[in-house]
Symmetry: C2
Subunit: 309 residues, 2 copies
């Protein structure tokens, strides 16, 4: 077994994922702990880090983290870097926890067409891990609670935009009148209901009207109660794709193909809806955060990397 | 005191409002009870009606009701009447509870541009109460959990559309990350924050992106936490107005003026946002449901009305 060169942590609000990387930046080992920053009381981050790392904690290798750990509620605030944000700019603006226990990567900020700020923390690192510094121009998607779409080019995040797709889906299923309609069948997925919802989402319309369709279709026999959740998922993802495509076109980004980053069932749903929208989807590699942290650490001189893998 | 000619009930999911009307259809007395159909167990509607009416129950006058009491979960199902739905069509399609304890008004259904059904129960009666049978053409708004916009003309509902504005607002404030940001100050209203949100809502954009602005603005000092709720309210109402105006234009309805029906603080918010959108707003009369029930009862011959007030 080769020696560990870097401990890399994606430290979010509710969970943390840590990786041990070897001298080539390859993942040797990984662990996930439900120890997000909101579980850390009275700013006791040092013991939280020890708990998170377990027996890795004794290893005297450099450590780097991205995510909410660098927010105002985190250990040390790492102010946002504005778009276009390069690997070098992020590496130049890392901050350090006391006793250099941890190097922390800043988040990235932009403004939308109306001048309203948009922000990410953690996703910038995943984006720069999933898109190589030599790649020319990639439209990258990070599906999730707050989905991000970004243009990544030659190791920099040119611009990005956020959609609260996952959070809205959760709210609707758990707390709304539509959620009460939805029959629960764990593990079941209706491709047909999802696709019908996605078609509605990809079409012109206003979300607060279109959502009501789940109720009226269920009421009039056009949608089975066990398909309501998949229809809503399709509607929300379809609407996100429609709006993101318009955003890309306004920004001069080619929306005919996109790279979806992640490793779960959600990515498959995006791939289905992107196909419905006529967008060629590719699947980004796993462990994008670990790869991005490695690249930033190398650029910052924290690890000696002859080749940025 | 003149004699009671009709007992009229707006019987919804969570609450019921009952009115005693005199021979001219004027409200003599009213009562509101938290005895919506979801509080009625085992279909025991007869005792629920007795409880709702209290000492009015002994009065041997005709009774009529609109709302969810006519749904599949109600006392007797009154199938939807399709748009355009006239006062006469509604009166012709009333159904009767056992022993003629209650006459029940049907709901109204339509289909949107994509062919998806839209429905209302109770609002059809309010619309026909708030717009006189002699009026030529009114764009009417019923703000609420599920806001309705309708074209009402010569005593018929030509078409309508629904927005889940109030339900989304409640979900966001009570259960979302944005709600956790929002400082709570009962009774306070920030006209400025509401108007800024409404401006964003009236502009082009996708809701699931625009909502995220509440977070980024709060994070970057552009919005005080105690103003987050009003900004979100403005955004949602603004977006509803934008989409409803587009709906009206597609349907050949003049959207330059609108009548807002209701009697609470929500109506004031709609009037502010409509003014921001350049739409001339008027305030519909109160007790629209009682007036509508009177008109339907008269048309159905349940009360003898020489003049339909």
């Amino acid at each position: 077994v080769s020696a560990t060169a870097l401990v890399a942590i994606d430290w979010g609000t509710s969970a943390a994922r840590a990786y041990r990387l070897d001298a080539e930046g390859c993942v040797q080992d990984r662990r996930a702990v439900p120890l997000g920053i909101r579980h850390v009381r009275d700013a006791r981050f040092e013991p939280a880090l020890a708990k998170l790392l377990g027996d890795w904690h004794a290893d005297p290798v450099p450590r780097i983290a991205c995510g909410m750990i660098g927010s105002r509620q985190g250990w040390v605030e790492a102010p946002y870097v504005d778009c276009p944000a390069s690997l070098t700019a992020l590496a130049d603006r890392v901050v350090h926890a006391p006793q250099d226990a941890l190097t922390i990567v800043p988040g990235v900020a932009t403004r939308d067409a109306a001048g309203i700020p948009d922000v990410m923390r953690g996703e910038e690192t995943q984006l720069l891990g999933a898109v190589g510094p030599d790649e020319r121009g990639v439209l990258a998607i990070l599906p999730g609670t707050h989905s991000k779409w970004a243009r990544v080019e030659h190791g920099r995040i040119v611009d990005f935009t956020t959609f609260m797709t996952g959070e809205l889906y959760g709210l609707l299923i758990e707390h709304s009148m539509l959620g009460r309609l939805a029959g629960h069948e764990p593990g079941r997925f209706s491709r047909d209901a999802f696709s019908r919802g996605a078609a509605r989402g990809l079409d012109e319309g206003e979300l607060s009207h279109d959502l009501f369709g789940a109720r009226t279709l269920a009421l009039t026999g056009g949608l089975r109660s066990e398909d309501v959740a998949d229809w809503l998922s399709g509607l929300l993802i379809g609407r996100e794709i429609r709006a993101a495509r318009a955003w890309a076109l306004r920004a001069g980004i080619d929306p005919s193909s996109a790279r979806v980053i992640g490793a779960d069932a959600l990515v498959e749903r995006y791939e289905l809806a992107l196909a419905d929208a006529g967008i060629l989807a590719s699947h980004g590699r796993g462990d994008a955060a670990a790869r991005g942290l490695w690249r930033i650490a190398a650029r910052a001189g924290i690890v000696a990397a002859s080749v940025e893998a």
